[in-house]
């Protein structure tokens, strides 16, 4: 085929020669060549910039790794690792199917309970806070004041909140609920504020034109816009709360976390396995369900 191509090139050249257009042809080719080379010269030089960025990243990572020294595995370490994996397939069945308050089923229920209540209360508390922090609803001063409060709440780690609440509620799942309610406010209101500030106010105008009063405007114009994203946020937070609920266990705030941590530190691997199985199943299932629901909320039914 190349032969054919060359042949055609030749033919064209001869045609042009016949037309006496050789000079023009060469000239235009030269012009093109010059344009191309000029452009090539103007190529932005990215190489040094890239090397610099790579260098900076390398230095940062090197600095980071200087603090982390590998001291080898502890004397019992390899034994522990082997035991954890061995017993994963051999969980404590008695514990798994024990229906008392110490059994896995109740602990799972308790963990879900903490997450549900934490999310519900957090979501409800976040509604007034986020409306008061939205710059398109209240004056900027008030909005920033409330945002600062939210930022402050977020900053205190959840374990601190658990310690603060434990004096009120005593140790146990109750403490987990109050802690999660407070901790959920931060993220939930951040998402709510975003939804509120993205409100399409054009609808309110058209409702005004229809002669709606304020209440009707909120019911018909604002709630339908917000409800899907509010619910979606709450469900997403429920996912997170479920995982955090297990962490709170270590300071005695109930759920499946505290017996799990106790079993780890007392080397009861069969119990560890039972708790881990329950935890993994619980989280994977809830995550799957919440993803499905949120996808439906985002794209509608079908």
């Amino acid at each position: 085929m190349e032969a054919v191509m060359n042949e055609h090139e030749e033919m064209k050249k001869t045609e042009r020669t016949a037309n006496g257009d050789v000079a023009g042809d060469i000239l235009s080719r030269l012009e093109s060549r010059v344009r191309v080379l000029e452009k090539l010269m103007s190529e932005p030089k990215m190489l040094w910039m890239r090397l610099l960025i790579f260098g900076i990243i390398a230095v940062i990572v090197y600095w980071g790794s200087s603090a982390i020294t590998y001291n080898g595995i502890t004397d019992r370490g390899s034994g522990i690792a082997v035991n954890v994996f061995k017993n994963l397939l051999n969980p404590d069945r008695e514990l798994l199917f024990n229906l008392t308050r110490d059994g896995v089923p109740f602990l799972v229920l308790e963990t879900i309970g903490i997450a549900v209540l934490g999310t519900v209360f957090g979501a409800i508390l976040a509604i007034p806070i986020s409306f008061l922090s939205a710059t398109n609803i209240v004056p900027k001063g008030i909005a920033y004041l409330f945002r600062a409060i939210v930022l402050f709440i977020r900053t205190i780690p959840s374990l601190m909140w658990a310690l603060i609440w434990i004096r009120v509620t005593g140790p146990g799942a109750f403490c987990g609920v109050t802690t999660q309610s407070i901790c959920s406010i931060g993220m939930i209101s951040k998402m709510y504020i975003m939804a509120i500030e993205n409100l399409d106010t054009g609808i309110l105008e058209s409702l005004d034109a229809c002669g709606c009063n304020t209440f009707e405007k909120i019911r018909v114009g604002i709630i339908p816009q917000l409800s899907a994203s509010f619910i979606s946020t709450a469900i997403y937070r429920f996912d997170i709360n479920l995982k955090d609920a297990t962490v709170l266990g270590i300071v005695g705030a109930g759920g499946i976390g505290s017996p799990l941590m106790q079993s780890i530190s007392s080397f009861k691997y069969q119990r560890v396995a039972a708790f881990l199985w329950a935890l993994v199943l619980l989280v994977v299932i809830i995550e799957w369900i919440s993803t499905q629901i949120r996808a439906r909320l985002a794209h509608g039914r079908s």
Binding site: M1, V4, M5, H8, K12, S32, R35, V36, L37, K39, L40, S42, E43, P44
Partner: protein
């Protein structure tokens, strides 16, 4: 030369995309394929570079039985066949020249692709390709800064950079406005004339097809119902191809697209 011998395509769900196609295309022809949406225009074009595999018959391109090619051989064959898409299919975050340079990737060792290390020679050829479609000045712009017509010309430059002997264009001007569509079509015509590249394009706009192509193929329900020079396309021919329905013109495109979306 491209030759279809009794080619049929049956999709896994039983739909007949193409039915007993016989067609001969000489090197350097400019072919427009017209027909209703779903008539098999896209299928016909995509069988040539094996983006779609045919299920019956033989497809021979430059004395090679295309269906017999496998793996590496097929990829080498595809190097000769350029393809242009309706949606341009450019990496919009990358610069124009990077997009043009991607057509060198199949010939390069992977580590060079990995670091994006293109040689000066490759860059010069890419810039020359851009110059051929008059968009050299945008070479270091990002693709998402360009208009639709400019993006399609970048796609054309990318194809030219692979030095093909055949260019397949699947609705190349369908997402462009009428004036730009005309400019892009004239680019195709110029490349066809100057470089002797065979061009096959699917097109909705009959007026543009008649203005630029040298030969027209009419497809209806997977079968060729018209095959002849542009000059012989009459109203009766168009009526036959389009089943008596209204013939799309450039100005009707929006309606046509609307119909497609609804239907």
């Amino acid at each position: 030369m491209i030759e279809f011998k009794n080619v049929s395509k049956v999709y896994p769900n039983g739909t007949r995309g193409l039915n007993q196609i016989n067609l001969k295309i000489e090197q350097g022809e400019f072919l427009a394929i017209i027909g209703l949406s779903g008539a098999g225009k896209s299928t016909l074009i995509r069988t040539i570079n094996r983006m779609i595999d045919i299920t019956e018959g033989r497809l021979i391109v430059d004395d090679v039985d295309v269906m017999s090619l496998k793996g590496r051989q097929m990829r080498r064959y595809r190097r000769k066949v350029g393809m242009i898409f309706q949606s341009f299919n450019l990496v919009s975050r990358a610069t124009v020249i990077r997009n043009v340079l991607t057509s060198n990737v199949p010939d390069m060792p992977f580590w060079k692709t990995f670091f994006g290390a293109y040689s000066t020679d490759q860059k010069i050829r890419a810039l020359e390709a851009l110059d051929k479609v008059n968009i050299l000045d945008k070479a270091y712009h990002r693709c998402d800064e360009l208009s639709g017509g400019q993006m399609q010309r970048v796609a054309l430059a990318r194809t030219l950079n692979q030095n093909p002997s055949i260019i397949l264009a699947d609705e190349p001007v369908a997402s462009l406005d009428p004036i730009i569509a005309d400019v892009v079509m004239s680019d195709f015509a110029r490349i066809n004339r100057d470089m002797n590249i065979t061009i096959l394009l699917n097109i909705h706009h009959v007026d543009l097809a008649l203005k630029y192509a040298t030969r027209v193929i009419g497809i209806r329900a997977g079968e060729i119902v018209y095959d002849g020079p542009t000059s012989e396309v009459t109203q009766e021919v168009l009526d036959m191809v389009y089943n008596g329905k209204a013939i799309p013109k450039t100005t009707d495109v929006e309606n046509e697209e609307l119909k497609e979306m609804v239907g």
